[in-house]
């Protein structure tokens, strides 16, 4: 896997670790936020891809800077690497949905310091900067959160916006394409995922209403590629129109 900067302003940075080398498990993106020498890892990934995620991560931040991890929901592609991270650094705090705490410990981290996020959301301070946990329940997990960085104007959107891309894919949906054609091409690869894995049109509508209030420059999904600039609105409009929970008819 490789790391690329998403945002950089002085000591405040976002990185994406993407394009997995192991193809037998679903391709996932891992994000790292660094602020004044402290960092947090978002959806650190599955057990099987841990070595490559770790190796790519230490190219951009020193492992000793890692203070916390965020787990959007209970799935293995998101949290099964927990015991390995814990072995490397047992001081790391784990922010997990309260509903899933007992499930997540099954990955083999009985003693790891887990911090519960209650259904209404919450926040965390990293290197003096506040990150918000935005509720996104039923998108797709029944207890599910996204992360918003108001200063960088980035929303980590978990499975929302996910697309199934072939190996060697880009980190971004083409940012310089003004016509929207690149977006149209990309979203075809996202359609089935949303129809099949997202169960609730009501949850979707509620989420769009809340997220539309946020100033978002980059919308970062856990699978696929980042939507930046105009593509953020294009995605929200597209998501608004699509009928979810319809993967099987």
């Amino acid at each position: 896997m490789k790391a690329a900067p998403v945002f950089e302003a002085g000591s405040h940075r976002w990185w994406i670790i993407y394009d997995q080398d192991e193809h037998r498990v679903i391709d996932s993106n891992v994000y790292v936020i660094e602020s004044n020498g402290q960092s947090i890892i978002l959806d650190p990934g599955g057990f099987e891809i841990f070595p490559q995620v770790f190796a790519a991560m230490v190219e951009v931040i020193p492992p000793s800077s890692l203070k916390a991890a965020f787990v959007s929901h209970q799935d293995p592609d998101i949290a099964s690497s927990l015991p390995l991270w814990h072995a490397c650094n047992d001081k790391m705090e784990w922010y997990v949905p309260k509903l899933w705490e007992g499930f997540i410990r099954h990955y083999g981290a009985l003693n790891a310091p887990l911090q519960n996020i209650s259904d209404e959301g919450g926040d965390v301070m990293i290197g003096g900067r506040r990150l918000e946990f935005i509720p996104a329940h039923y998108l797709h997990s029944s207890a599910n959160f996204h992360v918003y960085d108001p200063e960088a104007k980035i929303l980590f959107s978990g499975d929302v916006g996910a697309a199934l891309l072939p190996p060697g894919h880009d980190a971004w949906v083409d940012r310089r394409d003004k016509t929207g054609r690149a977006f149209e091409e990309h979203i075809k690869k996202a359609k089935y995922f949303h129809e099949r894995w997202m169960p609730s049109n009501a949850a979707k509508k509620n989420w769009i209403e809340r997220v539309s209030q946020l100033d978002i420059q980059h919308l970062c999904p856990q699978h696929g590629a980042i939507y930046s600039g105009d593509n953020v609105k294009r995605f929200l409009d597209w998501f608004d129109k699509i009928n979810v929970g319809t993967g099987i008819n």
Binding site: F47, F54, P62, P83, L84, A87
Partner: protein
Amino acid sequence: MDIQHIMRVVDASFAARQSIEKALREIDRRALNAMVLVKRHGNALAGYGVVAQAFRERAAILKTSASHLQESIAPLIEAYMRILQHQRFAQSFQEMLSDSPLHGQACPNLISTQNTWQKIIQQEEVEAVKILGHLLETVQQLQEGIEEQEYVVTNGRIEAALAERTGAPLMRVSRDMGEAVRTVAQAIRSYRHQLESLEHESSTRL
């Protein structure tokens, strides 16, 4: 395998790489600065021009060596993390065996799986030491490159002394160059110590 020792080495790698990159940029800028200075003085500083050119070429070679260094660090870290991953498996089988009242006597398959994992881990550790050895060679090359660069800096001082009458601030330029080279040399030296201690630990255990 002492995972905390490895973490310290990974942190040291990160720091070393950052300071080497920064120092190499600095070296490159110093070299370009010198070349600009030489160009601005027409033919009067041609001798120093040769030095500045050599300095910049060396800096480019150092940059290449440094990128090789980076290419070797990532596989090493990945190798150690794979060992960590597999130790988890071995450990869980170990736990099953020790938790069983029969101490595994009734379950030869379990013992054999546990042994297989131990073997895999051992092979992987040998592999990791090999990668570590390779990394140390790269570090060695980088150090040699820096020694050559120090030689060029010395030549530069001589040329600067010869060209002093032109009034160009070559002595200062040479001093700056020397400083930038020393920074890299220092970063590399301390990084090498870290790697060597890890190598020592790994080979005594194997």
